[in-house]
């Protein structure tokens, strides 16, 4: 093998690795109803994760067991995760009418999750940590609903 083809091979290899690494992080489109349902279940699970993290953070803040900036960061990140989940799910094209129903059921819950988390984040940034447990109360019910949804629609 001469030097030039070897270099070309090295370049192609590097490009392949970069494409694979970037591709691995992308959200693929859902071409079938089953794939769409699977993505809906994953989105619901992600939202549950963000909501339950926020519940823990709110509890820590309310009980004075964590530092205010730490609680604020935790809640901001939970909100960002919920927003990202909602945006990613909304961008997926539902392939059939059954998928439309799934979307109609899940999307409002995801939007509600984002709104609830925003309220927590606002209180934390105002250093009103005492209000967090009260604001977090309705979140557990929402997390429970999303968890049931994820279980019902999991592959």
């Amino acid at each position: 093998m001469t030097l030039r083809p070897r270099r070309r091979l090295l370049w192609r290899g590097s490009i392949l690795v970069a494409v694979v690494a970037l591709g691995a992080a992308c959200v693929a489109p859902a071409r079938t109803a089953a794939a769409y349902e699977g993505k809906a279940a994953d989105s619901a699970s992600s939202a549950v994760s963000a909501l339950r993290t926020a519940i823990l953070a709110a509890g820590l803040g309310g009980a004075d067991r964590s530092f205010p900036p730490t609680v604020s960061v935790l809640l901001s990140e939970a909100e960002e995760d919920a927003d990202a989940t909602e945006a990613a799910f909304s961008s997926i094209q539902p392939p059939d009418p059954v998928s439309d129903q799934i979307r109609a059921e899940l999307e409002p819950m995801l939007i509600k999750a984002s709104k609830r988390l925003a309220l927590l984040r606002i209180a934390a940034r105002r250093a009103d940590l005492g209000a967090l447990p009260r604001l977090a109360q309705p979140i557990e019910r929402l997390a429970g609903k999303l968890e049931r949804f994820a279980q019902e629609h999991a592959a």
């Binding site: 690494a21 067991r65 960061v73």
Partner: protein
Amino acid sequence: MKKIFEIFLGILTAFGGFVDIGDLVANSETGARFGMRLAWVVILGVIGIVIYAEMSGRVAALSKRGVFDVVRERLGARWALVNLLASFFINFLTIAAEIGGLALVIELVTGINYLLWVPLLGIAVWVVLWKMKFSIMEKAFGLSGLAMIVTAVALWRLDPGLGNTFSAMRHFGPTPDETWATYGFFAIGLLGAAMTPYEVFFFSSGAVEEHWTKEDLNVNRANVYIGFPLGGLLSLAIMGASATVFAPRGISVSHLSQVGIPVSLTLGKVGLAFLLFGMFAAIFAAAIETSLSAGYTVAQFFGWQWGTFVRPRQAARFHLVVIVSMLGAVLLALTTLDPIKITEYSIVLAAAALPLTYFPILVVANDPTYVGEKTNSKALNAVAFAYLVILLVVAVATIPLMIITRGGA
């Protein structure tokens, strides 16, 4: 007495310095998703790093040369260049991950966005590296990293029950809601985090920096045989705490801030303060180690003068590589790429490149030209060879698993 104290200090330093951003992220994420079902990978990784770090420390102490220097001479420039390119790229990603991780810790304390801290912390790492003596730097940060022991205390307070923990560790395979591919991908990440290549480059070059001789082989053995496994126990404690708090609630860990939750729940603000201090020290140490490793590998490959034991003017090219690597890493961290994602990719790609790092070490540790009569025993070679086979399988499986699981999503 002085020798015993030195060994004890070395063990504690190795213990406190074992966990870095990669271990924190990999163990927390895995604990949340798989409970303790991947704890065996941590044990496998710790045994692997113990075996190969001991070899690299022995080669450095007896030949008084860094491992990369010896590899280039023993296996030729071509093999060493492939090794250098792979190691340097992964090491570079790791520097960015460590500096980003440091900034995230400061964000947790101040509430100010981590991006503002990235350049300042890059400068802070460089100043410490430039001004502080190697041995003081290594021990100060390694010992401070011990503060992360609060995680083990938190796990004990969470009381998952020793029997339950061991019983969970015995389960091989994914949880019902996860696939074998994801299980394999996370296993690779854990192995990459435990056996990160920079650890052996830094360990062996550090031995030369501290002028180790044949008399220091016991210090070498104590550091790796006791210090590293203790560090591994800390990794398991992080995994255990995450498994106890997050897994039952369906929480997945995707931020460094979440790592502190189990400690806050059990030990409150005091525990969290210890954890944040320990995390900062351990990640700071790792940022220094990875930055130095960038210089070590390049300088040793090209045969330049290297090390902090000589005046900077005498090792100008070594310092230039360190500075340029750090600057590049700071710029990468400033791109707003999530430091946790950079960490995930760095540990998984590190796993893919592990055979390139460890095969040459096995070769030189068996060559009497470099280690005299202290070559590997047959039993050690058998275990080390078995590890190489495992690492080769891991290297082949990494990219396909990354595609199948969409990066462990």
